[in-house]
Subunit: 258 residues, 2 copies
């Protein structure tokens, strides 16, 4: 009861339960109650009630002492995707450009100090590396998508956003100095696109361009490919393709109210 008193309008039990649902991510597909409690920073008994409630609601499956998400959570995302007509207005555009560029195209935004993938084109010869999908989180600091997103924020917010995340060394090439990363972000802001090389995955170059209009919540499109023989030619071709894709998404006002 200090300064931040509990708001009578907020249901704390509900908030805690949501935290339980949110701890399930790529690294930990199934967990015990104690693990959930630890990850969500809650008492074991509290986590237990939340988990059991989720089981009853059908969002969680209990298998012995392990708990894991059920496909029903997809329905929650489905509500969002349909509300924003992703199936009609976003996915076809991504697919078409992906086809023309012969590369997988991803749409992303910021979420809690990470990059949240909103949609992904699907094309045959995609060099599948991690197998990210819509809803996946990827790092902010060492990906072209992340830096382009930061570039869409006012400078001080970008610095703040970067400060919130930790900076693991994914590869030898990963920049670890926040100032150096902010330099690259500034560069991306100035030139209207972002390139990264080998900072997240060795040998892979990332490309990203903004989709949202200045002032809106930043949305970006990007792609990644193994570094080829003529990096400059590749970059020019792919960035041109991404710019066309981004322009078309803007035109369709597909991402204006995110």
């Amino acid at each position: 009861m200090t300064a931040a008193d509990q708001d009578r309008n907020i249901s704390s039990s509900f908030a805690k339960g949501l935290a339980v649902l949110a701890v399930f991510d790529a690294e930990t597909p199934s967990m015990t109650l104690a693990e959930i409690a630890r990850r969500s920073g809650q008492d074991r008994a509290t986590a237990r009630r939340g988990a059991l409630t989720l089981v009853q609601a059908g969002y969680l499956r209990q298998d012995g002492r392990m708990l894991s998400l059920t496909p029903r959570v997809l329905a929650l995302a489905g509500g969002f995707l349909q509300a924003n007509q992703f199936g009609r207005r976003v996915q076809p555009v991504l697919n078409r450009h992906a086809r023309q560029m012969q590369i997988e195209v991803t749409l992303a935004m910021l979420d809690q100090g990470r990059v949240l993938l909103l949609a992904q084109s699907t094309v045959e010869h995609g060099h599948v590396t991690y197998g990210f999908t819509a809803g996946s989180h990827i790092p902010l600091a060492h990906t072209s998508l992340g830096r382009m997103l930061l570039a869409g924020l006012p400078e001080e917010e970008a610095a703040a956003g970067l400060a919130e995340t930790d900076l693991p060394r994914h590869t030898e090439a990963s920049l670890t100095d926040p100032a150096a990363i902010l330099d690259r972000v500034g560069e991306a802001r100035a030139q209207g696109y972002c390139l990264t090389d080998s900072e997240f995955e060795a040998g892979i170059t990332g490309y990203a361009v903004p989709v949202s209009r200045p002032g809106q919540t930043p949305i970006v499109a990007g792609c990644s490919a193994p570094r080829g023989q003529q990096p400059e030619a590749d970059a020019e071709r792919l960035l041109r393709g991404l710019q066309l894709c981004a322009a078309e998404l803007r035109q369709a006002e597909a991402v204006d109210h995110l």
Copy 2:
């Protein structure tokens, strides 16, 4: 406290909050508090607390008096998709077969008396009609996917499942007699595939085959296309393609523990 006493292990506030989150679907992208309360069958004050909590947690956005889902809900689905390696084990297979068949391929399962789309390939020339995505719900009774799913259940369960849903007449061809629909389901079970014609969308034929092994929770793959000049030839080609796709998914054990 009559017979159905409240379980001490279940957090009712949390369950009610989840119900609020779940009312957002394709038909109602944004709602007022009163509408949410009505749809979730809760008191307005209760719905309000749930909604405000969701706003604070970042899953809902408040815009005047309208509330709508934010992209963060995608992260919940992302947890499931990554846990089950959809990006690596399912999506590529669907994409490859879709490419070969030159048609959009969908993976689906049962959820609350409807068909829940789990994943969807995307090809260029897809005749985009509704713009469904992963997480979308489609009707159970009048789609080939739905009937094939019912065929994967024991007969009495299929009948029960069908009884739960209402049977709107989407088109003139929609079967409205439950017994007639169960006949088709039985047929699908017997022959190992399901065809429907114009029952959901006029002029569109749907094709579906089972993916899950007998006894598991039913999972099916399917596709749909405008009825062409040689329906039999189309059916043979598409069903063959779907069977190959389904076999490969089974082989990869991609959907065994759903």
